[in-house]
Symmetry: C2
Subunit: 396 residues, 2 copies
């Protein structure tokens, strides 16, 4: 029990306690913790300068013991009435704060780990061949994205321009993307780095990963399809990647851990996660202009964040505090479980019917997309991962 | 003329003056300028705290006016005898310093802009089809690499392990790369960032790019070929990228500017560099264990750094101080102008004969690769871009 007046059904109870960076009018950004309808000002409440900074990086770099200690302290503060007088003055109403990018992103990696998503794209683009590339079930395919254009939820999505070539055309033309899309993803934030040359094994996930956020990897499908052979996505992705402002600590997701899907191809030892099930039973919801259009199930992801971490470092690549790696688009087998519009509209050929009578293939100017997610919490209810939202603006 | 006793034929004369980060025994890294056989301690000589830092980033962020001012001041100091007494005490013999990574790398992008290189790879891998992908002459193909594993010249190259699949095999195996390679490249360092949503036009190159370094983009060809479809290179590249310690300012390369090769495909306006010729007549040299094996000519690059910058930002992606973008492997039409061993050995099928009687396809443990480059300088001789070197160590 808590002396806090927590709203019924809040996703921000004591079993969540996510971290973010906030400011109020006239004050500098600093770190805080979301609890109920409030944000606890950590800089003020703890008096620790590590929290008087514009990102979580310095605190994350302290490592898992420090993360556990603060979480235990917060729990004690919020449950033991004797701390109320010391803590309550530092609670700020959530609706008065501005949220900032929670992490100074070092490297950003994006995976491709939903079998349903990968197969959907294969069927849309290559209907006559096998939907998955030959390597797909042997390794979590991933690539590096642009860290400098990772921004906090709410950042406007200016429609990107670039080269695109229609199948019937000889040469590309230049102009605003006509196939602007989303990718509903889950991101993992690295708190503790690793040494160059030393792979990070599956089991070391909790030693390195601080927490989880939501990611919308905005994608210009027409730019992407023209540019991506042979070196992968570049301008089709690099204009913006949005993340949710609250990073849910890994400790809050213990109750969400599930076994990943059965694998039908033998895993090499460094990816063999028997006994280390890091599947996570998160349910995402995608809303277009407020209307629920999809509920992608994260628990079906073929590759887990532990496998992604092990793969990303098996060649000796080092990690840094602030590295962000994302799951890739989360999709399920159902039509209403697809995490991108290219899947929801089947490559644009089957427009999505909306409640207002209009249809949609790809995003139009003015469209607002919001992704939310919840997970089973330790207290028996569900905890919230907050939201990542963005509105499309006309190309400049 | 200079009061400095510059060695005859030095590549580090007054028309070069590259910047780097150095330390001496027992002192902290700080920025310096190479001149002749010495390094001028900028922190001490200027008294400006911007130089008492572990990277060039703070100085680079000041912008082109500050870059020009300091270059003018250095020139005056080294040419006017009256400054000798004030400056000479801060010259440190080059052979007593340790060089560090010159730049805190923000995002790292690698292009693929040598037509000879791209065609060579096409012929090696797909002998029966067109050597260039259809987009190659329409845009400078590029992808994001791992910024966190960009290290300074001299960093040991631990042979990476990973998945690779031989053509005859059904499933991949795991082990040390058997096709470890180099890529001889030229890198461009961004000093001044740009705003999200605002493309940087070709002509703005000197407003953003601070200088040039050498890059060895170490590559594990077997890991790369198994992983790279459909999202591009990942672990085959991310274990290490080495850069030379001295960043040659753009101003030192005015005499090296040349027209790029004639283009046989019409360029879209944002890539049309008529009147903005940013080809650069750099001659690279690649040495294996001291033996010269290749002289890649940078002046033949199809896409210039100005076009790469314009392309990278045309979708609205922003730049940050410290962004590094590399040219891609530099190769020429001659056998002795190829910038990678996969080209020099034609996919491993034509081993390279070395002076000691041995042959080489890909790199062996203990091999030492050094890339150097020179360019025409303003004084009529050639300026040096220094070197990027690394020795291969046995896989862990």
């Amino acid at each position: 029990m808590s002396w806090l007046d927590l709203p019924a059904g809040t996703g921000f109870g004591l079993d969540n306690l996510p971290y973010g960076v906030f400011s109020t009018t006239g004050t500098a950004p600093r770190t805080g913790v979301a609890v109920g309808d409030a944000v606890l000002d950590l800089a003020a409440a703890t008096g620790d300068d590590v929290h008087a900074t514009r990102s979580l990086n310095a605190f994350m770099a302290r490592g898992p013991r420090a993360w556990a200690d603060l979480r235990a302290q917060l729990t004690e503060w919020f449950t033991d009435e004797t701390h109320r007088g010391d803590v309550e003055p530092y609670l700020v109403p959530h609706d008065t704060v501005t949220m900032h990018l929670p992490v100074e992103v070092a490297d950003y990696v994006d995976f491709y780990s939903s079998q349903d998503h990968a197969e959907n794209l294969g069927r849309v683009f290559r209907p006559d061949s096998a939907p998955l590339p030959p390597n797909w079930k042997h390794l979590p395919i991933g690539y590096h994205g642009r860290a400098g254009t990772v921004r906090v939820s709410g950042t406007p999505v200016v429609r990107p321009s670039g080269q695109r070539r229609a199948p019937a055309d000889d040469a590309p033309t230049f102009g605003p993307s006509q196939r602007l899309d989303i990718e509903a993803e889950v991101g993992f934030v690295v708190g503790v780095g690793s040494d160059l040359g030393t792979p990070v094994p599956l089991a070391a996930l909790p030693e390195h990963v601080f927490g989880v956020c939501l990611v919308n990897d905005w994608s210009a499908r027409d730019l992407q399809s023209w540019e991506y052979v042979p070196l992968g996505p570049f301008l089709g992705k690099s204009f913006l990647t949005s993340v949710s402002p609250w990073v849910v600590p890994l400790a809050a997701l213990e109750a969400a851990r599930v076994a990943p899907p059965a694998r039908d191809v033998a895993l090499l030892p460094y990816l063999d996660d028997t006994g280390e099930p890091w599947g996570l039973d998160l349910t995402l919801e995608v809303r277009l202009n407020g209307e629920l259009v999809s509920c992608p199930p994260f628990g079906r992801m073929y590759w887990t964040p532990a496998q992604q971490l092990a793969h990303m470092t098996v060649n000796g690549a080092s990690l840094r505090t602030g590295d962000l790696y994302a799951s890739g688009t989360v999709s399920g087998p159902g039509k209403d479980q697809r995490g991108s519009f290219i899947e929801l509209s089947w490559g644009g050929r089957e427009p999505l019917a909306l409640a207002d009578g209009t249809t949609r293939t790809f995003l139009e100017d003015g469209d607002d997309v919001t992704i939310t997610a919840t997970a089973p919490g330790a207290a028996g209810g569900r905890i919230s991962l907050g939201e990542v939202t963005g509105r499309v603006r006309h190309a400049r």
